[in-house]
Symmetry: C2
Subunit: 418 residues, 2 copies
């Protein structure tokens, strides 16, 4: 006998994390499986942001830099994120975007490598890394006289590291397309053995999978605020630098907030000690306030291990149900079945009509997303996704496939953002 | 006979812009003269941001990138700012912070200069430019093998340009300390005659003084969203590049939003045509939404010339009243009396107790700010500052000075942000 909907309902009843869903303002009737792209709205956010707007800005005005603690937002929210990624207080700052933070830490990594191993001139990454990482790396490779080498398979990473020319290994921990997860500890160790630094993009990891950056001896990391951290559209990102490096090099975006004494207004740049030098301009107060609410939804859970356990159960269930109920419909699993290799999303390739298929699902209020040229992505956020949601999503997928409704012209028209 | 309060009241009654104040949520009893540091809260903002949070994010979720036009925010708000700075639609983007945007445009300017005039190796600026500008320029000077030369007086700028070694003239149009305004047109012309590019920081100009970037043939500009544009604490900034240059060079922060096809997810960076290549990461939706409301408060005025006329009348009045009523109290005017040389703020140096003096004023609900080591700043935002406010502020200043209340210990303790 296969799984039935009642089994999923029972799993929800027994789910020790089920109350965490109440933290979110989810639209009625919508089944949201895109928290890997944009996390859902925490209920606390609207009130907190309104207070930041009306009380702190409107009433407190300029005084709120001190009285409302605006000036400490980058470190305060950074300290909260540190708890999710295996870092210590004072090691993380919230600032700018993931792309901008990557520019900072990769610059510092290349400057460091130029001193430690001047003949190593390769930035090693993957062709299917998120493009913005590759674009930033291309820019810095040109500037630093380095070469960006892209691996086509995860196995190639080991082989390229063995060649001994890699200065910086720059990987996204969980791939945005396939949801495949690298072994951060092993690859960091291997990079170090080969004389390379390890830089990790945690965009699809932070808040989704357990991380132990410091224990695993990683060198640099950046991550995104608007995916599993539920910080809101375009939320600020974060940066972490291992404390053994943080004071040793400067990053080129030397704005006033990274200065040792920002309010001394001296004409010469003197970097702040530690991670604060990775700040640049004035903190985005309203956006960081929203991000803090998002991070708090994760800290309300009994730990990231519990979230991971549920996440794996959700993705296991989804893959099992899709195979059982949508088999033979041209969906090719792109996500590893092996749990240790999987983040918190499941993706399928489909040679024909993938975009339209996703549009037809969205029209039925089952929201995943599509990544060109052929990928359907489904994200599972254990904070608010129920086991019964997994059942219902697969049912919708089955219907859309079996009825062929996705072939209707209304589902073919491309939107700006896919 | 000197001016009396009733004269100021009459000026308010006759002020054609007086209704514009109703756009703002100003706290009762507070006299706010710090819009040059953080603009006041527009009434429209709270509701608009709440809608972005609840409706667009909470209900629309990921779909809002298309349905709520999130993806067009950088250009849509940029087009509105263009109207305030003498640029055309499609020439301005909103993104990141002023510091980050300066890094982008100064990088492009130096790359351009390296081609056009490879022997020119000087970035020319002023020692009293806002420090973040100098810090970013120091970083880029080091990277590009250039020298940052700082002038101590405005007159020195002309002389240094005449030497012929300047690649980029980088100035803040209105000085953050003194409120002194450069002649943008003349200095841009002089820079061009001497083979240099002209890059302007409009942090204290945009929304405060008339600008004609394109007619004046400026090359690059950046500006701040949270001062006279009323975009909220840490609001995103903007960047403008003259269309004759915009397509010619890349900037190094080559994030995915500056790609010609961000959603093609190709591994190679190909810059978008025009100003869009100055985008980097994902747009900060909530912050840009707030900024749009702030910019709208300026576009509601009958034009920037009308705002300028009132601004000059306010600063004229303030200086006249301070001289008449606070003369002999050790306040030394730091702002030019000549209207053409003045932005929308007035500053005084005071050798002793400047910080405590400002704290004593703030305790009386007259909010200006203090800049180390000795400067008291008062900003006059014609959208919401009344002539009677000027009278009342000077009265408070006179009382604080005459009573010596500022000498009380409670006004001496330094806050984090001064």
């Amino acid at each position: 006998m296969g799984i039935v909907r009642a089994d999923c309902q029972r799993q929800d009843e027994q789910d020790p994390l089920r109350a965490l869903r109440d933290q979110f303002q989810l639209p009625e009737g919508v089944l949201y499986l895109d928290g890997n792209s944009l996390g859902a709205l925490p209920k606390a956010t609207a009130k907190r942001v309104a207070s930041a707007v009306n009380d702190e800005w409107g009433h407190g005005l300029i005084r709120s830099w001190n009285t409302a603690g605006w000036i400490t937002l980058p470190s305060r929210v950074g300290d909260k994120i540190a708890r999710l990624i295996g870092a210590d207080p004072g090691e993380v700052v919230v600032a700018d975007s993931t792309s901008v933070n990557l520019y900072k830490v990769l610059s510092a990594a290349l400057a460091m490598a130029a001193v430690a191993a001047p003949r190593k001139k390769v930035i090693l990454s993957e062709r299917h890394n998120f493009p913005t990482d590759l674009y930033i790396a291309q820019s810095l490779a040109r500037e630093h006289g380095c070469e960006l080498v892209l691996c086509d398979t995860p196995g190639e990473v080991d082989a390229r590291l063995d060649e001994g020319s890699v200065a910086v290994l720059m990987l996204t921990h969980v791939n945005y397309r396939t949801g495949r997860m690298h072994d951060l500890r092993r690859l960091t160790g291997l990079a170090h053995e080969r004389g390379a630094l390890a830089l990790w993009d945690l965009a699809h990891s932070a808040g989704a999978v357990p991380l132990a950056l410091k224990a695993d001896e990683a060198d640099f990391a950046v991550g995104c605020g608007y995916k599993y951290l539920n910080g809101g559209p375009g939320a600020p990102a974060f940066a972490w630098v291992h404390p053994r490096h943080a004071d040793r090099f400067e990053q080129p975006l030397s704005g006033w907030m990274g200065h040792a004494e920002p309010f001394a207004f001296t004409p010469d740049y003197r970097p702040a000690p530690g991670i604060a030098r990775y700040l640049c301009g004035t903190p985005a107060v309203l956006a960081m306030t929203a991000l803090e609410c998002g991070v708090d939804t994760l800290l309300a859970a009994p730990g990231i291990e519990a979230l991971r356990k549920k996440s794996l159960a959700l993705t296991d269930l989804f893959m099992e149900l899709v195979e059982a109920r949508c088999g033979g419909q041209g969906l090719v699993l792109a996500t590893p079945l092996e749990r240790a290799l999987r983040g918190s999303q499941v993706s399928y390739m489909r040679a024909e009509g993938g975009y339209a298929l996703m549009q037809a699902l969205i029209a039925r209020n089952v929201i995943g997303d599509f990544r060109a040229p052929d990928l359907l992505r489904f994200g599972f956020t254990p904070l608010y996704t129920r086991f019964v949601d997994v059942w219902d999503a697969v049912e919708a997928l089955r219907e859309v496939l079996e009825t062929g409704v996705w072939r209707e012209p209304r589902f073919q028209a491309r939107a700006t953002v896919t």
